[in-house]
Every structure is written in structure tokens, then in C-alpha cells.
Symmetry: C2
Subunit: 112 residues, 2 copies
DNA sequence: GCCATCACTCTACATTGTAGAATATAATCA
DNA sequence: TGATTATATTCTACAATGTAGAGTGATGGC
């Protein structure tokens, strides 16, 4: 039971959330992150899913948050930490090595 | 509680397992799939993790298996189904859209 | 028969993914 | 002013996925 949190790639949704934070840049808070994922992936996301994941990512220090009030509306703005950036990079390169050499077209063509 | 199993992208490990099945091609069974993931990603994988995931993928009909005896040794050979291929493709394109426009280099450089 | 190998199954539990109701705060307006 | 609407977040509960390690069964050599 070692749980080397390092080396373990990000979960699918964790990665989506982190990427959405990056994409919404300085305006990354719960609602915009959710909308961004919905827009880009085309599937519906529950609010709770976003915040729960954001909380867990923050606990692992892969994202950071700070309160910010704009136009009288209080928001929790998120950003990616250095460790978060590394986790994203590792997750991606690990996956790229696995996809290496796989012919997606043939995969779909073969069995339809 | 609709659970549209479609549209939901594959989990990180599910994807790794499916890719390893493709990579080991006609020799894809528990042990080789495990070894393949370990070799390519560089991290240790428990046998149980592989089989549990393979079983769940089979239940969702994303992979199929059949018994085969070679040199007196019985093995459960796995292959990717058509639906499995589509799931892989969808998972990948969904992710690619999210990564679109993100500068990994800058991401790592900025905060190190 | 006993031991070592190889492949797989089972059990149990931790982490991640998800839904939806509840709460909080400010803006609007009859 | 207090009901109403809109926005943002928190909370609760549970399902699905990820993981470890012990257990089982078959085979082959000694």
C-alpha cells in the first residue's frame, strides 16, 4: 500500500478539469470550467462533479485557488500549480508512448 | 441518473489496458498486457488491476476474450471490439480538442 | 509426490466520477 | 422590504474505476 501519488497518471476527468482551467485562464472558476468542458467535449457535466474534482486536485496541490470578488460577485479562481503542470505533462507523454504506432484509421475501418 | 455509458470517455487505466491489448495484438492476454503497460509507462502494475479492468471492459463489450491453449498452457486472449475501437477514438478526439492550443512547454517553463 | 511456473480468479478497499439538493450572496423590482 | 431571480459554491450520497495481494488451478521437471 504505497500510494506513490507521483507516477500515477491523472484520471480522465481530472485531466479535463485541469485543461479547462488552463483554457479559461484568468477567468477559471467553477462555472466557467464546467461550461468550457461542456462546450469542448459536447457532453453535460454536473456542477458537483467539477467542484469535487477541483477540491481533490487542490488537496493534491495540483491546482490552487483564491477568493476574488468581481462586480460584487465572489468567486473562487483556480490556477494550475507547477506540480499540476508536471502531472499534465507526464500524463500526456505516458499516453503518447502507448498510442505510438497505433493506426486509429485501421482500427475503426477494420470492424466498423 | 441516466448513465449514458456512451459519450462517457474511457478511464485512464481502461485506455491503457485497451491500448496494450492492441499493441500486443494476437498475443494479448493478462500477463502480456500487464508487461506491456509496465514497459511502456515505466510504472508497476498489479495483476489484479489488469484483470479487473479487462473484466469490466468485457462486460461493457469494449473488448472480447476467448480461451486458447498454446503449448499446453491455457490463456484468455483478448481483442478490441468495434465498439471498443470507437470508444478509443472518441476518448482521444475529445481529449485532443481540450489540449488544442495549450502550450505544454510554456506551462512547464513558467512555474518549473 | 513435491516444487516451481504461469495464468488467472477473488476479495477487499481506496480513489475518482457523478448527480442533485442545499446554501449563500447580491441584484432586481413590485 | 421581502419575494424572486441569477450566480456561485458547498454538501451529501453513491456508482464506477483503480489497485493490492492472497488464493486457485494446471503443467512440467525432478
Amino acid at each position: 500500500m504505497k500510494l506513490a501519488r507521483d507516477e500515477v497518471p491523472l484520471g480522465t476527468f481530472e485531466e479535463q478539469v485541469m485543461l479547462a482551467v488552463l483554457r479559461t485562464a484568468s477567468d477559471a472558476y467553477g462555472m466557467t470550467v464546467r461550461r468550457e468542458i461542456e462546450d469542448v467535449t459536447g457532453r453535460e457535466i454536473a456542477v458537483g462533479a467539477v467542484y469535487a474534482t477541483l477540491d481533490r486536485l487542490e488537496a493534491k496541490e495540483l491546482v490552487a485557488s483564491k477568493r476574488s470578488t468581481i462586480d460584487g460577485v465572489s468567486r473562487r479562481l483556480f490556477s494550475i500549480t507547477a506540480a499540476g503542470g508536471r502531472a499534465l505533462a507526464e500524463t500526456r507523454s505516458m499516453r503518447e508512448r502507448l498510442w505510438q504506432g497505433i493506426d486509429l484509421r485501421r482500427l475503426l475501418g477494420a470492424a466498423g
